[in-house]
Symmetry: D2
Subunit: 135 residues, 4 copies
């Protein structure tokens, strides 16, 4: 397996009055990396995209070190720790070559936003996630 | 014990392209309630405030139901599940009379931002948190 | 005429590394006040709401004084300086009893998001805006 | 002269319930490009940076076209239309090869955050801005 990695550039406004990237932004960074990971797999049609959505059920973040604004991007790694039925579980890290700033686990459910109910992942989706699945 | 509750008004911009309050915003809502809970206890002097800061070490959020924009505020409850030495652990809920949208546990460390090291909470702080501590 | 005023509570995260409310947030504050001003007038049906939308064409903000985080809300005033055809022009102020933090002019167009084209305001809309129109 | 251009990647969360990048975010994009334009010129020392700060006095944005989320960055152009004494005036555009999404003028004042007063720009600063000044 390989991890999906997005090189995410910080924005100065991500920092708070303490001068560090605000901890809520870490969830944004993870969301952005996920969005880019699945971009190729998403249906082009918007209505279809709503039928094949994913929703976050649980987020767990361990903050390891303060992250200060700098021009260089941080690496946001995403990989799959479990995918079965409606359940998708992701491991994540926000890091660079020198340090790990946060580690996270995101539990998601495959979801049909039109009916408002969980759905089983398609074979295509399961096959896609296999690429990023831990052995 | 009693819970601290902040009546937090939503902002339309908190919603994302799915029309729901974005899950990263829930961390913001919890941060805002915490900020208001401890406002009376904080040193007035800014340098002193940096010496008696708290940093988030772990956040765990269970998303229970989608939250849509509306004019009425949501209730953000915060209470203390543990406070000892440098460790402060908070229970949180985002809810209204009809539903619970999220439940969360936030683990924090009392921290001196000047020295960059954890610190023991003062008696005044421990006494303050007793008010909100589960029996 | 009377101004529409929304008492907007700040969020600690609105502040940036300089400790002041970030200037981009002022546009958010104005948006939130506008959203609440027109809330009663908006169609309940979402598709209908998209047909009777408004889009921002120009925003002009004069920053008068830095705004620091505090628990008390700021007053966001909105009033109508012009409404005719598809054009809606708003005057705005962000202030409290002691100071004015920003003044703004927002030029909007009545817009049909389904067709992607400007539209003429309805009589009901024009009549609604008369309430907030400068003599 | 040449314009400073920052290739700014969008974030999915920049979009609002209408599915477009929220208009307040355009101010964030401009701020980020400015921050990167002057990064090399800024004093390394934080106290010194506060003495040689700039504050926004007026922002004027013309919204030209809706910007939807996509993986490719947008170009944010910044150039200097005036720099003299304490006054710095910037022209800006948010665009790609196909379209211009917004044009803006940002009026800033060189400012000493320690004394809370405007300051004259240094020769070094004026010389720096000459690079990006319209003939």
């Amino acid at each position: 397996m390989h991890k999906f990695t997005y090189q995410l550039p910080l924005r100065w406004a991500d920092t708070d009055a303490y001068g560090h990237v605000n901890n809520a932004l870490f969830l944004r960074y993870l969301e952005e990396a996920r969005t880019r990971m699945v971009a190729d797999m998403l249906p082009a049609d918007e209505a279809e995209r709503r039928r094949r959505a994913f929703v976050v059920q649980q987020s767990l973040i361990d903050y390891k070190a303060p992250l200060d604004y700098r021009e260089e991007p941080v690496s946001v790694d995403v990989w799959v720790t479990r995918s079965r039925g409606a359940r998708l579980e992701l491991g994540c890290a926000i890091r660079d070559a020198d340090a790990t700033y946060a580690e996270a686990t995101i539990k998601m459910a495959a979801y049909d936003l039109e009916t408002g109910a969980p759905r089983r992942m398609t074979d295509e989706e399961l096959s896609f996630f296999t690429r990023y699945t831990e052995a």
